[in-house]
Symmetry: C3
Subunit: 133 residues, 3 copies
C-alpha cells in the first residue's frame, strides 16, 4: 500500500514531527505486521528519527547542520544558492524504514519521525509504503 | 519475524560489531531469502556498515565525528548535555537494511554491521525485522 | 529478486547517476509493485539520492564532504590513507530504499540515484533487491 502525505513547511529550515500522521496511515491500512518505508521525493529535504521530548534537540540539530554546511560558502557553484540544503539532505537521508507490529510503529520511548525541511517554505510530500511480513 | 538484541555498551562512544548476532537471528528464522531491517530504538545511537579488518577505521570515525560535532559546543541548548550524540545519531542513521540470500547476509568482503554508541555506557536494543522475498 | 550491477569509477571521488540501470532491473523483473533496496557491498563508497538537473550540485557535495573530512588529517590512524573515504561512506550511507509502482521507480521530479565513489577509481558493485508488496 502506498499513500502520500502533504507537509506544508513554514520556514527555510525546520524539523516537523510527522509520527502521528504515519501511524494513522498504518492504522488505516490492512497491514498489521511488516515495515513502513517513508520516502521524501525531494532533493533539499529529508527524514530523520529523533527525540520529541525536548524541542531544543531539533533546534540543536538545525544549528549544527548550519554550522557545518553554511549556506553562503563562496566555493559553492550551484546557481540556485541552495547547495547547503542539497548537502544536508544527503547527510540526513531521504528515507527512513520503520518496523510495524500490531498495526503500530515500533518506536523507542523518545523517538519521533521528523520531516527535515532545508530549503522552505514549501509544500512537500512524503510517500509511505507499507510491506506486509 | 521480529527479534530484539540487547547490546551493552561500555564507553560514552564506541562502535560494536554485531554482524554475527544478526547473522544468527537470520539462521534461526525460517526466512531464507529477503531483507533484514536492523533498527535502533534510541535517539543517541545508530547503525552503520563499515570495515572490520582494521580497528583503526572505527577509531578514525569516532575521532572525526567528535571533531565535527564536539560535545561542549556552547551554542547547544539541550540541557542534558548530549546534543552531540543526538546529532551524530541523525548523521549516521538509526537503521540499516541488508539483503538476505540462502539464509545469510549478503555483505562485502570487508563489511560488518556496527552498533554506534554516542552517549553510553548503556544497555541498548537493536530490532531485527526479517521480510521474505 | 537480487541482481548485481557493476559500476566502473574513473576518479578518486565522483557521483555517478545509476537511475536508468536500476529502472532497467525493475522493468526486467516480474515485480510491478513493492520496494527496491539498493546496496553497496563496499566500505569506501555509498549511495545517495540527489538532483540530476545541474551537475554543480554533485560537485558541491563532493567539495563540501572533502572540506568537512579532508584526506590528510594527521590524526587519522588507519594506515591505508583512506579514512576520509570510510567516514564519508558512513555519513552518506551504504543503501537506499526506493518505492516501486507500476514497474517503475517512484522518484521526485529532480531525483536521481547516485553511486558515490570516495576511494576510486575501482570496479564496484551495487546489489538491487526487489521485494513485492
Amino acid at each position: 500500500m502506498l499513500e502520500t502525505l502533504t507537509v506544508q513547511t513554514t520556514r527555510r529550515a525546520e524539523l516537523i514531527d510527522i509520527t502521528d500522521r504515519i501511524a494513522a496511515v498504518i492504522r488505516g491500512s490492512d497491514i498489521t505486521s511488516g515495515i513502513a518505508v517513508c520516502y521524501v521525493p525531494h532533493t533539499t529535504a529529508g527524514l530523520t528519527i529523533q527525540e520529541n521530548a525536548d524541542p531544543d534537540v531539533t533546534a540543536d540539530i538545525l544549528y549544527k547542520l548550519d554550522a557545518l554546511v553554511p549556506r553562503d560558502d563562496p566555493r559553492f557553484r550551484h546557481a540556485e544558492g541552495n547547495s547547503d540544503a542539497h548537502i544536508k539532505a544527503s547527510l540526513i537521508g531521504s528515507s527512513v524504514t520503520l518496523v510495524v507490529r500490531a498495526s503500530a510503529l515500533v518506536l523507542g520511548t523518545w523517538q519521533a519521525i521528523y520531516f527535515c525541511e532545508f530549503d522552505g517554505p514549501r509544500s512537500r510530500h512524503v510517500h509511505v509504503k507499507l510491506l506486509r511480513g
